[in-house]
Structures are given as C-alpha cells and as structure tokens.
C-alpha cells in the first residue's frame, strides 16, 4: 500500500500529514508542510481513528414520522423521500420553504456545489453556514478596510519574522498547536508576543505582555491602543497619507478613548497598554492578529475594524513581515466563505446582489441570471426562523452540528422540532443527525479528493487515501443524486476534479479568483495562494504590497465606537461566561468525542473559575456546578484556576446534553456580520444538588 500525502481533517492550519495502511492500522506521519513543519497535535495524530470507528454511519437512516425511530433504508428510499418532501413543501409554501445549512469544514468543491444546489436545484435563497459563527466578523471588517477578506494576507511563516505580535482573543496554543512554532520563531529572535484575553491561557502565559481584559471590551482596548499610538508618537503619518483614507474620522473617536478611560472599561492597566503600544510601534515588523475572542461579539465587526485601524495607523498592512490578519478556525473556513455557501454570496467572493456577478455566475451555471434567488438570511436568523409562519419548513444540513454549535441552543432545538423535514448528511450520528428525519452517511476526508483553502488563502489538495466503507457516499454524490431527482443532475457532477474545474470558471474575475489554480497545481508542494487569475500566474502569497483592492487602491480606516455587551452582568446574573475550545476537541465534538485518546485527555465538560470566586461560592475543584443564564443552563465539573478573571467563568462548547455551553450563550447578533455573541453573556453559578448530578457520557 502506498502512502498518501494529505492534510489533517481539523483546523484551518491544515497540517501536512501522510497516511498509510500498515497491516490493519492506519499510520499517520506528519509532513514538513509550511504551516506545521512536521508538527501535529493530538487531534491530528489520532485523526485516523474515526475512519474505522464503529460509530460511523454506513447506511441511510429514516423515520416515517417524528415519533418513529430512525431505521436503515436504501439510498434510493432516502433520496426519494427527501425529493418528494421538498417538492411537496415547495408546492405548498414556495421555494424558500427549503433551507440549506453548510459548514466551514466542507471542501471548496462541496461548498461550491452546495451553494449552487440551493440556488439552481432548490431555487431557494435560504442558505447559510456555520462559518457565520466563526470568521464572519473578521471577514466583514477585512472587506471594509482592504476590499478583500483573506484571513492572513501573508504566508504563516512570515509571522516568525515579526518583532512584535499582538494576538487578540486567540488561544492558539490549544486551538492550533503547531502554529505556536511560528510565534516561537519570532520570540527566539527577540520578538515580543502580546496577548489580549480575559483568560491567562497557555498562549497568554508565553506572552511578554498579557492584557487580561474584561470580556466584551476588546473594542475599547483597540481604541485605547490607537489613542496611545498617537499620543506616544508611533503613528505612521506618511503611510496614512500615502496608502489610506479616513484616519481623521477614526481619530475623532479614538481621541475620546484616552488610556485612563479605557483602563476603567477594560480593566487593563494603562502602563500595560502603553507597553504593548511601545512594543508594536517601535518594532520594524509588527503584526496584529485577531481570532474568535474579539470576533464572536455583537460588535465583532467593529472590534476587528478597531484593530485593523490600529494596524493601519502603525503603517503595518502591506509592509514586509507586518500586517493585520485573522486566524481562521475551521478547516476550510477560508474557502468555505468564498464560493457561495453564504446567504449573500456567489462563487469567487462575489456579491449576490451585484448584477454583473449574477450574470457571470448564471452563465457558468447555464441558467438565466433572473432565475437566481437573491440574498438569504444569516445562519442564526435562519435557524431562528425554522418552522415559523414564514420560515423554512425543511432544512438540509451538510457538515454542521448546529444542535451543539449554535448559540441559544434551546431555541434551536425548538425550531428544529418545528420542521416538516430535517435532513442531515454526516459521518456519525451527531446530535443534529439524531434529530433528523433522514440521515445520509457520507465519506470522510481521507476517503475523497478535494481542495481546501487554509488560513493563509493557500489552496491545497486533500487526497483520497482509502475507499469509503460500503454504503457511504460522498457529499458530492449525495447532491448529484438529489439534483437528479429535481431534473438537473447533469449540472451536478460528483467528481471533485470536475466540480473544481467549474469552480475555477465561476470564481474567475472575482475577488477570490481561483481561475489559474489547476487541480494539479493545488496538489503541488505548498499549494497556490489566491488570487491566481491564470495558469501562468504564480499565485499571491502576499497581498497589499503595492496597493489595496479598493476602488482607489487605498486601505480604508473605518470609524467605530465602543459599546457595551448585549447582556451585561447584574444582581441576578453577576458573572460573565465566555466559551471556547480545548486542545483535545474540535468544534461541536461530533468527531473528537468519538476518539478514545481525546476523550481520555478531555473527558467531560467543565467550568473554569478563579479560586476567589470558588471560595466565595463555597465550591471546590471537581464539584458539579451549574451555569445559568436567562436562556438556559449548562453543567460541568468545576476547575479552579488562577488563570481566569474573578468576574468570569469559562466553558468549552464541545459537549451536548446537560454540558452544552450553548444552552446558555446569547443570540445577540452583530448588525453587520450577524455573528452571535458567543463570547459573553451574564450568568450565575451554583452547585448542582448532589442527587441531580448527571454523568454525561462523553462517548455514546
């Protein structure tokens, strides 16, 4: 058996690895790929376990009525049922009665095909995806400032050459471990790491300066740092004059955020802010990187704009070894947001309300532009509307476990229950699949070919190493089979190479232009950075060197003002809850909770609290505790740690059932990106009464 070079199935770092069958096991060897340079975290090392997991679905499942159990059926029975129900519902309630929900883990081909399937086969405008819960704020802010949204506008290896790095709301040491090598490179050559996070995470512990801010005050911090950059003389006036517009309006806001005022709002001492600005401002190469901590807020877009403004004021974007970047989370979080899974987008990062974009894409799809639906609604709005009077009556889910990953999850439970039809394509019986009327078993990453676009905008190839188990189909085969039943099967090839070829044409001339990335080039060492408009084009590892892709070629400062969190603490709910990930698990945990070694490493949901808080509440390490907000409760085991603020609790969101953190989180949305405020809500903490302690079984 030959070895197959491919990439890890999980996060956006897309670590290079080689898969090989040795006897009856699958051996994983890390590869020397630029992002991971031979490193893998425990998730990567154990990623093959799921290929042979007994929990894999190998046959479609269906229930006749909501009360009936899910029973095995043939593919034809399953797909016929879906097609028949869809036709009936659309006849009764129109095309928009069917909604589609995608995922940032799907390959480019699947994301593309799913967007096309919704618009061409189903003619529905109702499509969005879980990337809305991930990168949407940074995407919106990036577009506003730079006219483009590519997570990192430079190769990740540039980070190792920076002399100062500000990480805002990112715990890469746990969420993207091999990435830390690049930070370590920078630190080894004297670079300073600054981390802004309410928790003293392992990442923050390795920083020279840790700005331990109050949850939800990142924007005030950004304004304060900009203020200090100005008063302490680090603003690059020449760069501002030559390469940007709008500084005056931004400064007019920042001038009201003097550091002492910011200190009172954020809790970050003035001197620490000043030191952070000094490090960034005096470095020859400096970077500002944001992640979910800053972005998953009801003002996430403005918060990112605040940090981009700071980067622009310091003259960073477009300078070698410098700039602003967003650390994308999901495996194909970048590519997944470029090719039409988003409610308002068409392939190539085109806008669905742009007539020229519609013409172009309709041409590629062989339909009339007038047949294309308009913009739909964002992920949470979509979930929130399911089964309501004017809302969709059916939902088709691909690559997402919304029951665990969406905010205000009890509301989502309720809405899913109100549907006439829920269809879920998944590898395992995820919490969402378990509620479905029809479950479609699909192939895994190592069982199909595809392309992914990693956090750097690098288009790379995922290669098939093994055949999927009998009875399992790829998502593309599923879409093709469904499209057949809607009379347009010929428009939906199941061969990923064919889909990618079409994607290239559809993206040609768009912002995320893949026209020159061939199937073969994507497989070459290092992949290809978009934009890559033709086959002779080398790709674009570094953006903004000469100009920005805005109409006037200049980056735009965006005027933003701080505002309070949607739900602040009060007498009844006196603590902040913030949520996030742990090293051993990935997102909703549907995959990682089924890998023994990862469950051993991180078996159960927990709640982090400061010793002072534990003392005040009379709680101890290991106690079963309950966190309650206005929306719901979540339970976990108490972990007492000095690394968290005394006014804040932390819970990972990987679990379901009683330990589901998202039962508690807020559905307040960012007005621009529609990102929910996952990172802050007001809660109270109490012990779970002894008789009520439930032992959440992590492995079902």
């Amino acid at each position: 058996m030959t070895a197959t070079a491919t990439h890890c199935p999980y996060c956006a770092l897309q670590c290079g690895m080689t898969l090989e069958r040795v006897d009856d096991r699958i051996a994983i060897t890390p590869r020397d790929f630029p992002t991971n340079r031979g490193g893998l975290c425990q998730k990567g090392w154990t990623s093959a376990d799921l290929l042979s997991s007994p929990e894999r679905l190998t046959t479609p499942l269906m229930r006749q009525t909501r009360a009936a159990p899910l029973l095995p059926v043939t593919w034809d029975e399953a797909l016929d049922r879906v097609a028949a129900d869809v036709r009936r519902l659309q006849a009764e309630s129109g095309p928009d009665s069917i909604a589609v929900f995608g995922g940032g883990g799907l390959t480019n081909e699947k994301s593309y095909a799913l967007g096309k399937f919704a618009r061409v086969a189903l003619r529905t405008s109702k499509i969005d995806y879980n990337g809305r819960f991930c990168m949407s704020s940074a995407a919106a802010a990036g577009n506003k400032a730079f006219g483009v949204d590519r997570g990192l506008p430079f190769p990740v290896t540039d980070i190792g050459t920076a002399h100062a790095i500000l990480l805002v709301g990112s715990n890469v040491a746990e969420t993207m471990p091999p990435f830390v090598q690049h930070l370590a490179d920078a630190q080894r050559s004297g670079g300073a790491l600054i981390v802004a996070d309410p928790r003293r995470t392992p990442t923050a512990q390795s920083a020279a300066v840790h700005l331990q801010l109050t949850p939800g005050t990142d924007l005030a911090l950004a304004l304060g740092l900009l203020h200090l950059a100005m008063t302490d003389g680090y603003v690059d006036k020449e760069y501002i004059a030559d390469r940007t517009t709008g500084f005056d309006d931004v400064w007019r806001r920042a001038v009201t955020w003097w550091p002492e005022r910011v200190e009172r709002v954020t809790g970050v001492p003035v001197e620490q802010m000043r030191e952070a600005v000094r490090l960034l401002g005096s470095a020859e190469r400096a970077m500002i990187l944001t992640a979910r901590g800053a972005e998953q807020q009801s003002k996430g877009t403005d918060t990112v704009s605040g940090f981009i403004n700071l980067a622009l004021a310091l003259g960073l974007p477009g300078r070698p070894g410098s700039g602003y970047g967003c650390l994308t989370g999901q495996g194909n979080g970048q590519g997944g947001r470029e090719h039409g899974q988003k409610a308002d987008q068409l392939p190539g990062y085109r806008k669905i309300d742009d007539p020229a974009a519609r013409e172009h894409v309709a041409g590629v799809w062989g339909i009339d532009a007038s047949e294309l639906p308009g913009a739909g609604v964002s992920a949470y709005e979509l979930l929130d509307s399911l089964g309501t009077v004017d809302g969709p009556r059916a939902l088709l889910v691909f690559g997402s476990n919304v029951v665990v990953s969406a905010p205000n999850a009890r509301r989502v439970d309720e809405r899913l229950a109100a549907l006439d039809l829920l269809v879920v394509a998944d590898l395992v019986l995820s919490e969402t699949a378990a509620r479905a009327d029809v479950v479609l078993p699909v192939a895994q990453w190592a069982e199909e070919d595809g392309t992914m676009t990693n956090l750097e905008g690098r288009v790379l190839r995922r290669n098939k190493a093994f055949e999927p188990p009998p009875g399992v189909r790829t998502d593309l085969e599923v879409l093709s089979g469904l499209a057949d039943r809607f009379g347009c099967g010929e428009k939906f090839p199941a061969d990923p190479a064919a889909v990618f070829a079409e994607l290239r044409r559809a993206s040609a001339g768009g912002i995320a232009d893949y026209a020159g990335v061939t199937w073969e080039r994507a497989a070459s060492t290092g992949g290809v950075f978009w934009p890559c408009p033709d086959e002779s084009h080398p790709g674009t590892p570094r953006l903004f060197r000469e100009s920005f892709p805005t109409p006037d070629g200049r980056a735009r400062f965006v005027e933003v003002e701080h505002r309070p969190v949607a739900e602040d603490i009060d007498q009844d709910y006196p603590l902040y809850l913030t949520t996030g990930r742990v090293l051993a698990h990935y997102q909703s945990g549907a995959q990682t909770r089924r890998v023994r070694a990862l469950v051993d490493a991180s078996p159960e949901p927990f709640v982090e609290a400061h010793p002072e808080l534990a003392l005040r509440y009379g709680l101890h390490e290991g106690d079963a505790v309950r966190v309650t907000s206005r929306r719901g409760t979540a339970e976990g085991v108490l972990r007492v740690t000095e690394t968290i603020r005394t006014d804040t609790l932390f819970m990972p969101f990987h679990w379901s059932g009683a330990g589901r953190a998202n039962s508690v989180t807020s559905d307040a949305l960012d007005p621009t990106s529609k990102m929910p405020e996952f990172k802050i809500c007001a809660v109270r903490l109490e012990a779970v009464p002894a008789e009520a302690v439930q032992h959440d079984v992590a492995v079902s």
Partner: protein, 493 residues
C-alpha cells in the same frame, strides 16, 4: 419642533449635542450650540498631552465643524451668552444676538480661580505677562509660547491639574517648582503618606515641590522674574502657571434667578429649578456634589439627552469617582474615601515602598472597597478600579488586589521538581510520568521519547523540558547501560 439651545461647547456641551442627535434620528429637535471659545470642540483633558508636547492642538479636536453641517446642528463659535430671559425663553449673546429656546442646557463648565497675589494680574485685571491659567487651548498655547524661552517655571497649585502642568513643563526641559498651599500634594484625593511618596517621585522627574508654599508677589528685577514666598524666599519664575482650583461658571444662572448653591442646583434628571433649563458638567450641582471630571459630565449629557428625547434612563444617581493622574512616569490612581485611616467600621490595607515610589492603600467597609490609592508600580489598578466601580465583594486574600497573581505560569527549572502527573507536552497530552516510563522502557533520547509518546511533536515548545527529563533520568541512573532501544514503533491506534 422643539428647539434645544446648549450654552457652552466644552466637554459636556459638545457631548450632549452628539448624544441628542444619536437618539433623535428623525431630527425632531432643532439644536443650536453656543460656545464662547472660538476653537471647535476639543478634548480638554488632552491639553496636558499638548503641554507635554505629545500631540498638537490640531490633534485633539472632538467634533469637527463638518459634523454640525451633516447633522443639521447650528454651531455658533466665539459667542458668549450674556443673559437668559426665562420668561421669553431666549438667551442673549454679548454681541446682542438672541436665540430662542424651548429647552435650554447650560454647560458652562468652570473657570480657573486666580489667587489675589500682586503681580499675577495687570492693572486692567488681565493676567500679567508670563502668567497663565490652564483651562483652554488658548491658555495652553500661551504657556507653551512662554516656556520656549523659560528656564524656570512656577506652578501654583499641587492638585491634579498643577502636577500635570508641572510634569509637562519639566518634559520640555524647564526647571519646575510647584507651590502647594497645603501640607501634602493632592490633599483632596490622597493621604499624606501618599503625598510624601509622590513628592519623591516628582523630584526624580525634575519637579521640585514646595509644600505650604504660598506666593505673595510676582516681581521683576532687571531681566529676572521671580516669585516671593510668604517665608521671604525668592524663586526664579520666567513663567507662572496657576492651577489653584476652579469655580463653577454660574453667572448666567444666578443672574437669571435659578437656584444656585456652589453650582447650579439640579435634580435627578439634571433639571434646574426651571423645568425648561438643564445643567450638566462642572457647572451643575447634584445632591450636593459638584464634579470636576469628564466621566460624570458625560453621564449628565446622556441623562439629559434621554430626558429630552423621551428615551429611558433619564435618571442620575451620582457618579463613582476615580481620579487618574496623567503624567508620564507617575502612575497614580485614587478613588472613593481614600483618606480614611483605620477606624471601627473600616479596614485599611496598606503597602509602602517609598524608595521605589510605591504606595498602595485600600479602604474596605463591609467587605466592599470604598476607597483606594495606588501610586507607582500599578499592575492591579484595572482590577481595583473595576471592583470599586461595581461594588463587588473584596477578595478574602487582600494581597491579590495589591500585587498581580502569577497565574499558572511557573517555569520549572529542575525536572526533579515537576510533579509526575504534570503535563509536559500539552499538544499531545503527555505527562512527566509517561516520559519517565518511556525512558525506563528504553527510550533514551528525545527522539525516541517523541516516537513513543509524541511529546514535542506539536508546537515543539516542550523540547527543552523533555530533554531535561531525559538527562535527569540518565543522571539519576548513571550506571545503567542503555539497552539497545527496543524498536520504537509509532503507537498508532
């Protein structure tokens, strides 16, 4: 349409106009703001930074004139209101123009108090050459112009403003002496011990402080200008900056018969004794308190904007006061009843390190923080301020409020001291015990340990630690001949 006239375009006046427009999206209000200063609204508190040479006057503008046009607000700069006719509901400017109102907001701030000292003013009553107050852009420009050729400056008043002025001038290379009437600096905000530490800190920065220093004359002899103190000393003084307190600007209110005490008396909606006249900022007195800071002034502005637009939240209950000195290399924060010494009802926690310029004091009542002084090393200031603002319970371990915790970031130098169950490689969840077991089973190099346990194969950050453990194991077992390592295969599950 309701016509709102705002008198004063300072910090409070400019704010209330913006707050009104932000709430009044339908433009149901006809808004006019009259400001005596000719300069468009600017951030007054940054005058300290202007004086320190960090920013220019052009940098501190708050609301540009274009904003008023875009937002349909009438802006009249350089217009001083001379009189209010409350019966006719008009204000009359000193140039005779009249402005009718339905609702009037007074935001006239305060004016600097100038002690009656011979030589400070000229016979016309204006400030004499070389003498300035420190309140406006004009004042600031005057000080900066004077400092250019000055070798010695005297600052009269060792309060917040005086110390910021002194620090700024010292930064410009001028030798500065602060004359302070009381026995210690900033006596309104800090206790005498803190005052003492502060004097030493300032001395290191080139600011000399004379406590109980009372000027009785500003005089000239030849080219020399000097201040004469009550004790007869002469101090060279090319320029003098007066920062001897402020008086709320209440003339208009008093003349028009509104209730005035120390400042214009307002109720919980910031309304004066006339239901159509409101007062905010430093010219207002609420429940007996006159505030001299921006944060309360902006709260007032929000309350009045809510009241005038019918939005909720139109009630004011007073502000918690946190005072921060903004002078480079002097980190000072004070809040609440920081003067208090131990008594039966309060607990005082204190740390003093005068040599390093550190003084920390917490006043705690019924488990709540009611006052604090933090001077010098100040890593906990954010946490202390938030605790004070929120009125939350004080940690049982008071020390955590004085010194930052070390969190969990402890680096262990000696592998022997690492607990067995401690995680060495986070990326692959490998404990020290797993590594030592692996060594005992024959893996004698980092690579061999990595092959079995995967330690070091994530971010690589633990490589030194693993090497340390491997060496330590070898050292602890010097006689042991390493076996030919058993073929170490990757543990693939």
């Amino acid at each position: 349409m309701t016509r709102v006239v705002v008198v004063g375009n300072g910090m409070a006046g400019s704010r209330v106009v913006e707050e009104l427009r932000a709430r009044d999206l339908q433009r149901a209000l006809d808004i006019c703001v009259l400001g005596a200063e000719t300069f468009p609204a600017y951030n007054r508190i940054l005058l300290s930074s202007v004086l320190a040479g960090k920013v220019t006057v052009g940098d501190i503008a708050l609301t540009p004139e274009a904003w008023y046009e875009q937002n349909d607000v009438q802006l009249e700069l350089g217009v001083t209101v001379a009189r209010i006719d409350r019966t006719a509901r008009v204000v009359i400017a000193s140039d005779g123009r009249t402005f009718g109102y339905d609702e009037l907001v007074l935001a006239t701030g305060s004016r600097p108090r100038v002690p009656t000292v011979p030589g400070f003013t000229d016979p016309g009553g204006d400030l004499a050459a070389g003498v300035s107050v420190f309140r406006t852009v004009g004042d600031c420009e005057r000080i900066i112009a004077g400092s250019a050729s000055a070798a010695h400056a005297i600052v009269v008043g060792g309060g917040l403003l005086g110390l910021e002025a002194a620090r700024g001038l010292a930064g410009r290379g001028v030798a500065v002496t602060v004359l302070h009437k009381a026995g210690h600096l900033m006596e309104k905000q800090i206790d005498d011990l803190a005052g003492g530490v502060l004097v030493r800190t300032l001395a290191r920065l080139g600011v000399d402080v004379r406590l109980r220093g009372v000027p009785i004359r500003y005089d000239t002899a030849g080219a020399e200008r000097f201040i004469v103190l009550a004790d007869g000393q002469h101090l060279p003084a090319d320029i003098v900056v007066i920062a001897a307190g402020v008086e709320p600007d209440v003339c208009l209110a008093r003349d028009s018969g509104l209730d005035v005490n120390r400042a214009i008396v307002v109720d919980d909606r910031m309304r004066t004794s006339d239901p159509h006249v409101w007062a905010i900022g430093e010219c207002a007195e609420h429940r007996g308190t006159v505030y001299g800071l921006v944060a309360p002034a902006w709260e007032h502005a929000a309350v009045v904007a809510n009241a005038l637009t019918g939005a909720g939240g139109a009630s004011y209950a007073g502000s918690a006061i946190v005072t921060r000195l903004k002078a480079s290399n002097v980190d000072l924060a004070t809040m609440g009843d920081a003067h208090l010494e131990d008594d039966e009802t309060a607990e005082v926690v204190r740390f003093v390190d005068p040599v390093r310029g550190t003084y920390k004091k917490l006043v705690i009542r019924d488990g709540r923080l009611t006052g604090a002084i933090l001077l010098g090393e100040n890593a906990t200031v954010g946490a202390v301020t938030q605790l004070f603002d929120r009125g939350g319970p004080v940690p049982s371990d008071r020390i955590t409020l004085l010194f930052p915790g070390r969190g969990a970031a402890t680096t262990v130098e000696n592998p022997a001291h690492i607990p067995d169950r401690a995680t060495v490689c986070r990326c692959n969840n490998v404990s020290k015990r797993a590594i030592t077991k692996c060594w005992l089973a024959g893996a004698r190099t980092v690579a061999a340990v990595a092959g079995v346990t995967r330690a070091t194969t994530g971010c690589g950050g633990c490589r030194d630690l693993v090497a340390g453990i491997v060496d330590w194991m070898a050292a602890a077992d010097p006689d042991e001949q390493p076996d030919v390592p058993a073929l170490v295969t990757l543990a693939v599950s």
